[in-house]
Amino acid sequence: MRLLKKTDNLEMSYSLKGRSLWVDARRRLFQNKAAIISLFILIFISIISVFGPFFIQYGFIDTDWNSIYQPPSLENGHYLGTDGNGRDLLVRILHGGRLSLSIGVIATFVSVFIGVIYGTIAGFFGGKLDTFMMRVVEILYAMPYLIFVIILMVVFGRNIYFLFIAIGAVEWLTMARIVRGQTISLKEKEFIETSRALGQSNTLIIIKHIIPNLAGPIIVYITLMVPSVIILESFLSFLGLGVQEPLTSWGVLISEGSREMETAWWLLIFPGSFMVITLASLNFIGDGLRDAIDPKEY
């Protein structure tokens, strides 16, 4: 802050640049060291998952008959060792990372998409429509989601795209509830009434005035949902319902590694630590974002 000098004309006081809520939130986020370190770790893991396999001499399905169950070594290029089929673990972890992260992101966006639309419609229009829509959500909640996913996988076959859809279809319920609650409190606000008095259509009010105001909780929820989706995928893969050979994901690698952990510890430790680090980073980022976007929670 500096005092206005005589030479400053009065218009100067208006020339301060407007600072939006997002700029404030970003500043608060950057002050959170844990969140920023996690963000860099997450970016690093994503980049090596996407580009790493191009720089490794082994393909993710190539078997090296000379080195089966080989512990990590620097000499022959199997830095994280090999599995029982002589496949390089590092490249498999990176390939698995591609799949796990993309399932995490895509399934989350599927569920956010469904959840936000469903929740805003139920919350905004209210009344009987709201009652009906929320009863549907409650019925789906009551169904054991594992059975739901298993039925989906059995009916539609073990296709990886159905895995995305199945997980997304299970996870949107909570999103819909959160969004509905927020919408109900938002639609009573005066600025919604103002838009209505100025003759705007419901669709425009929802798109321009309600959904942007929901962005905070939605973004926070996304960062917390990605890890839960990754865990769900790992769990399904662990049960043999998820990703099929020769494709792999972290869940599959952990499931295979756990069977052989007494003889080949590296098969469990390395995929496990990749997954733990990713999930922990995502959770830290989620916490940081929540504090940044909604500072009154401090």
């Binding site: 600025f191 103002t194 008095a197 705007q200």
Partner: protein, 273 residues
């Protein structure tokens, strides 16, 4: 009543409300909030509506503009330039709301969407009603800011509502309702949330709108002082009915109804109306 009868023959008639009743379905049964209200307003005229809290003055105009809450419904007619706002469908009514009829709310602090820049909020309404491009709408926004006596600065257009003071926000609200050159502005207690000096500035703007742009204004307030300063005609409401109406001068100097007398006796004697 006679003054209203006279107005019907007048060609300058802008809005005419006949036998308006507003009901609310509550858990305690049906409640009648507005009882047989008749009123009319001419072009370039300011109508003041006074009454205590809960007298139905806000609900009267909410029902005309279709803003009643879900458990409310209304009967009667509200003819705006030959178009009945009450019996029409929502889609048809929306062509008038915001375009020919502007609405200003009580609390400017919460009436602006917090995440949108002022310029976006101003231009939004013109883009929607007049199919202007964003550029044209922003140009119009700068013109309108001049009318409400805000500095025509780009920086104001790109700032957020939380960066402005209450008086500035209320002027932005007036500016938003002016974007499509309306013929009628309904202001629901526009000065209640503001301090006295800001109040008089806002009332000056209303006077300018009326005198220079010929916009009719309906000013709803529980503050007789505010009404006396701007209105040509006045309506006093109590318990959902109109107890007295007439020109501002007549009603304030020679009140006929007991309630109006009581209302006027509440004003400290040194306030000369």
């Amino acid at each position: 009543m006679q003054s209203i009868q006279k107005n019907i023959k007048n060609n300058d008639l802008l809005l005419e409300v006949n036998d308006l009743n507003v009901f609310f379905n509550t858990t305690d049964g049906l409640i009648k909030a507005v009882n047989n209200v008749n009123l009319s307003i001419n072009k370039g005229e300011c109508l003041g509506v006074v009454g205590e809290s809960g007298s139905g003055k806000t609900q009267t105009f909410f029902s005309i503009t279709g803003l009643l809450s879900n458990n409310g419904y209304c009967k009667g007619s509200a003819i705006f330039k030959g178009f009945d706002l009450i019996s029409s469908s929502k889609k048809e009514r929306m062509k008038y709301l915001g375009k020919s009829i502007g609405f200003i709310f009580q609390d400017p602090m919460t009436s602006l969407t917090p995440h949108m820049k002022i310029g976006d909020q101003l231009s939004e309404i013109s883009i929607f009603h007049d199919n202007l491009t964003k550029k044209e709408a922003l140009k119009r926004a700068l013109e309108v800011l001049d009318i409400v006596k805000l500095p025509k600065l780009r920086n104001l257009i790109t700032s957020y509502p939380h960066e402005l003071s209450g008086g500035m926000k209320q002027r932005i609200m007036i500016a938003i309702s002016l974007m499509c050159s309306p013929e009628l502005i309904i202001a629901d207690e526009p000065t209640t949330a503001l301090d006295v000096t800001t109040q008089s500035e806002i009332l000056n703007i209303f006077n300018d709108l009326k005198n220079q742009l010929g916009i009719s204004i309906i000013l709803i307030s529980h503050n007789i002082g505010v009404i006396a300063e701007t209105s040509d005609n006045i309506i006093v409401m109590k318990d959902g009915s109109i107890v007295e109406n007439g020109s501002t001068y007549n009603v304030l100097t020679n009140p006929q109804d007991k309630y109006t007398k009581l209302l006027l006796s509440c004003i400290p004697p040194w306030l000369d109306v």
